[in-house]
Amino acid sequence: MSSYQDIDPQIIERAKHDQEAFIQLFQHYADRTLRFLLVHTRDKQLAEDLTQETFITVMKKLYTYRVTDAPFSSWLFQIALNHLRSYMRVKSHRSTENIDQLFHLSTRADHTQWIDFFSALERLHPDDQFLLTLKYIDDMPNTEIATTLGISPNACAVRIHRALNELHTYL
């Protein structure tokens, strides 16, 4: 189960026309979005910019959102992924210069280990990278990941398994 609670649908409805409700919505999802993007970009400023872009898009398009069985976070992460994809199209290789400071790495061995890990992760297909980060960093359940990426839950489970195996071979 996800460690995160989805937001009250009434707040989403209010956020369509009320600034404070929208800020409440932002506060609810800001950490998740920011941390998810941080893992992919490894750049705090860039992650911050992408998070801001994501929420500006949410602000503009929130009137189109209809409350369904799927959690709001699926819709939000779809937007975040679109911004991330756009960024990755421009810059396929991400910097690893800041990982020591960013992820509080203290030893040289630790540094090498994480460089290898991020290099291996980058070798995966972008969608597989998203699958694994949503699964293990955001702790999102498979059904929600499947909704976010537009695939079936079974396919999601299979792809996570394969992506992990592939990552394992690269390490």
Partner: protein
């Protein structure tokens, strides 16, 4: 190390990252963006893009209407009297402005005694020339209606002057004995399936002066004839003079005959009426001919007002459609210009920041 363990470690590390500053910065920027992007939050946000083209479209439409006002002002008129000094015209389109319902009740006459009188057998008499325009609307076939009119006129000893038929109306003109008018009208009303019989005009003119003038002329001619006869009876005339007088007598006699015939015709005119009947084909409710309904009755008023409302609606709708066509035409030019302009403005704003 197992990738799953590495992910778990990474999650722990990531969760330790302090995001307070970033969140505060993003929140501040989002509040600013909220103010800027307030408008697009509506489902109908796209409508704001139509404001400029619609405004220009509306202005163009108004200009178009103003320039064509002179053409729109035309309205067919019915002239109810031939006397130019007393000419009164009513609209045939809308009876409420003083048209056929007024004409129906009014009998338009000149001062009948202005024309004077003439003397016949020691009695003062007058001759009145009558003309009338009648109108009916029929739901039956127009041509068969006109054929019926023809047979009615002939049955009432009428003389047909002209018959014409068009798509939506027909015209029938005849001269009828005045005494037969009522009988003819009764038969005419049998054709009037919509109860829309109307006497558009009824015109009476005193033409006694013409008879009086002819009487004077006849008197003069007869006295000349008597004088010629007296001269012919004289024995002291040469052959050539007699021939000349005979010719003069023949000429005078011819003139007297002509004047007498003319007088008889004029006097006979007083016993006939020039009748003009317009027979209209009934138009459907949706075609907007609301003036064909008799709004002197309750049901007629309901039909009249309903039809008028529908007609107005159709006219307005056509105006609105025309308006939108103009808007579309202008939008084709304006919307790309609007977007280009907006892009430039945004670039300038970004540059200033």
């Amino acid at each position: 190390m197992n990738p799953e363990d590495q992910f778990n470690t990474l999650r722990e590390r990531v969760s330790q990252i302090d995001t307070t500053t970033s969140r505060a910065r993003i929140e501040r920027n989002l509040r600013e963006a909220w103010e800027q992007h307030r408008a697009p939050r509506s489902r109908f946000a796209w409508t704001r893009f139509l404001v400029a083209p619609l405004s220009i479209g509306a202005l163009s439409f108004a200009t178009m209407l103003m320039t064509s006002t002179s053409q729109l002002n035309y309205e067919p008129q019915a002239i109810l009297t031939t006397d130019s000094s007393q000419t009164t015209s009513y609209s045939l389109v809308d009876p409420t402005v003083g048209g056929s319902d007024v004409a129906e009740k009014s009998v338009i006459t000149n001062n009948l005694f202005d024309g004077g009188t003439y003397t016949e057998n020691g009695e003062q008499k007058s001759v009145l020339s009558s003309r009338a325009s009648l109108s009916i609307t029929t739901k039956s076939d127009l041509l068969s209606g006109i054929q019926s009119l023809r047979s009615y006129a002939e049955a009432h000893n009428g003389v047909i002057s002209s018959i014409s038929a068009y798509t939506s109306y027909g015209s029938f003109e005849a001269i009828l004995p005045l005494s037969e008018l009522q009988g003819f009208e009764a038969q005419l009303k049998s054709l009037d399936t919509t109860h829309s019989f109307k006497t558009l005009t009824y015109y009476v003119e005193n033409i006694s002066a013409q008879v009086s003038r002819l009487d004077d002329s006849l008197k003069t001619l007869r006295s000349k004839l008597d004088s010629t006869n007296t001269q012919l009876n004289s024995t002291a005339l040469s052959a050539s003079e007699r021939t000349q007088l005979e010719e003069q007598k023949t000429s005078l006699q011819n003139n007297i005959d002509e004047a007498s015939t003319e007088r008889a015709d004029i006097v006979a005119t007083g016993e006939t009426i020039d009748l003009s009947v317009t027979i209209n084909a009934f138009q459907s409710f949706w075609s907007g001919y609301y003036y064909q309904y008799d709004h002197s009755t309750l049901w007629g008023t309901i039909q009249y007002e309903s039809c008028k409302a529908v007609h107005t609606l159709i006219t307005s709708a056509s105006g609105i459609i025309t308006f939108f066509i103009w808007c579309v035409v202008y939008s084709v030019i304006l919307i790309p210009l609007y977007y280009a302009g907006r892009k430039v403005v945004r670039k300038i704003k970004v540059g200033k920041r």
